[in-house]
């Protein structure tokens, strides 16, 4: 599901293949293992997360959930919350190089990164929950709110807006936009190298991040709000 590559002090985590990189226990474990490798590496300087194909990620694996909704929903939610918390505890700067569509949990994963670089064309950010009649548990809402301006939060969550790269840039949802996939990744790696060269201490960086976005990791760790499929949901 994902591959991890080291380029100097920059790690590049790629969600591999042409699919839409959905999150189920197996794929989450894969990503978590890659994160652990980065965290444990003494000379890791920065992480870039990116994707192959046309999708960054479309979020949770609904197909897997529907095999046994009662049990699987709570399992997947807790695992996904733990994954997001791992990203937010990472001791190095993180850049999401979004080279395709990111929806729901995929959009949230991108928001859990420190920086967001996005491909200019054929990439849409979309928090689909409202359209599907789904709620956002407190934990995931905390991640979203921590990174967005009030108007962007409203447009993303309460508007279920579909954001092109340009509108995402204008709404300060992403930091920069590039012409194509190759340039997006190149720019992210280049920035990651600059950040890695600052020589910051991992424990300091991680603690500062927790102070900058207070309460988010606490909410992710608390696993509150059973994530039920409302009977009315389109899923």
């Amino acid at each position: 599901m994902c591959s991890l590559e080291k380029r100097g002090r920059v790690y590049v985590l790629t969600l591999s293949g042409e699919g839409d990189h959905r999150f189920n226990p197996s794929t989450i474990d894969n990503i978590a293992a890659a994160l652990k490798e980065v965290q444990d590496s003494p000379d890791a300087g920065a992480l870039v997360t990116t994707n192959e194909g046309r999708y960054f990620s479309n979020g949770l694996d609904i197909q897997w959930i529907s095999q046994n909704p009662d049990a699987h929903l709570s399992t997947i939610r807790i695992k996904f919350e733990n994954l997001l918390a791992s990203f937010m505890r990472l001791g190095v700067p993180t850049i999401a190089a979004i080279r395709g569509h990111a929806a729901a949990g995929g959009f949230i994963l991108a928001l859990a990164h420190d920086y967001r670089f996005m491909k200019g064309d054929r990439s849409v950010l979309y928090m689909s929950e409202l359209d599907h009649g789904m709620k956002l548990p407190r934990s995931l809402m905390a991640v979203v709110r921590s990174k967005l301006l009030p108007a962007a939060s409203r447009d993303v969550v309460l508007g279920a807006g579909k954001f092109s790269a340009q509108t995402a840039l204008e709404g300060r949802i992403v930091d920069s936009v590039y012409a194509d996939s190759a340039q997006t990744l190149e720019a992210a790696i280049s920035e990651a190298q600059k950040l890695a060269s600052r020589g910051w201490k991992k424990s300091i960086y991680s603690e500062l991040r927790l102070g900058v976005f207070p309460g988010v990791v606490e909410e992710l760790d608390a696993h509150r709000d059973p994530y039920l499929f409302p009977a009315s949901a389109k899923l």
Binding site: W200, K201, R209
Partner: protein, 238 residues
């Protein structure tokens, strides 16, 4: 260290001299006394804080810290947190007219003001802590967070970015940029006069500020987290 001047109903607090206006117990007390004068004045209008020379302030006086090894670090931290809290309790609008570089605690002092006007050239805003390997006390972090957009906050704290005036304006850190020091101060005074003309009740203004930035004063008053120099920090050899 500082002078306070009344112009009509406005007060102008100036960090004096060509140095980098560092905060130690003595200089903090001087600024506190000036603030008290503003707070006690029945007809006080807005306060403009500004600087002479090339620096607004570079923050805490590290030289004083190393010259006074018997004084716990927390002493200076607590005094500075108390100073920031005093600015946030002030019953009049506050404008920082930043006519020079502001780093670390100096940047925090500017952020503790309601408005920030900045000189366009030869002035950089820089939260140096990450580069030095320092953490922030909860009070300092709350004060910084309260005034910045998420992306800018990330750039300031997690990027230790050096902001020119133009970058600071784009990032929403400052409200306006003027060509040079005199024009920056003039613009700040002009805005202060407009604010004074609104005739706001002091108690209402202060309470509204506390509501607008909830939790900041509580964190500053709580004085939590020892401001240790981690052994790994570049300052541990002081």
């Amino acid at each position: 260290m500082c002078s306070v001047e009344k112009r009509g109903r406005l007060y102008i607090l100036t960090l004096l001299g060509e140095g980098d206006h560092r905060f130690n117990p003595c200089t903090i007390d001087a600024i506190s006394a000036a603030l008290q004068e503003v707070q006690d004045s029945p007809d006080a209008g807005p306060l403009v804080t500004t600087n002479q020379g090339r620096y607004f302030s570079n923050g805490l006086d590290l030289q004083w810290i190393s010259q006074n090894p018997d004084v716990p670090l927390s002493t200076l931290r607590i005094k500075f947190e108390t100073l920031l809290a005093s600015f946030m309790r002030l019953r009049v609008p506050t404008i920082a007219a930043i006519c020079g570089h502001a780093a670390a605690g100096g940047f925090m002092l500017a952020l503790a003001h309601d408005y920030r006007f900045m000189r366009g050239d030869r002035s950089v805003l820089y939260m140096s802590e990450l580069d030095i390997g320092l953490k922030f006390s909860k009070g300092f972090m709350a004060a910084i967070r309260s005034k910045l957009m998420p992306g800018t906050l990330r750039d300031v704290v997690l990027g230790a970015r050096k902001f020119s005036a133009r970058m600071a304006l784009e990032g929403g850190i400052v409200d306006s940029v003027s060509a040079d020091s005199p024009q920056t101060l003039e613009a700040a005074i002009s805005e202060a006069q407009k604010l004074a003309g609104r005739g706001w009740k002091k108690e209402i203004y202060c309470e509204l500020r506390l509501g607008a930035f909830p939790g900041v004063l509580e964190e500053l008053d709580a004085h939590e987290d020892p401001y240790n120099f981690p052994l790994s920090s570049k300052l541990s050899k002081l």
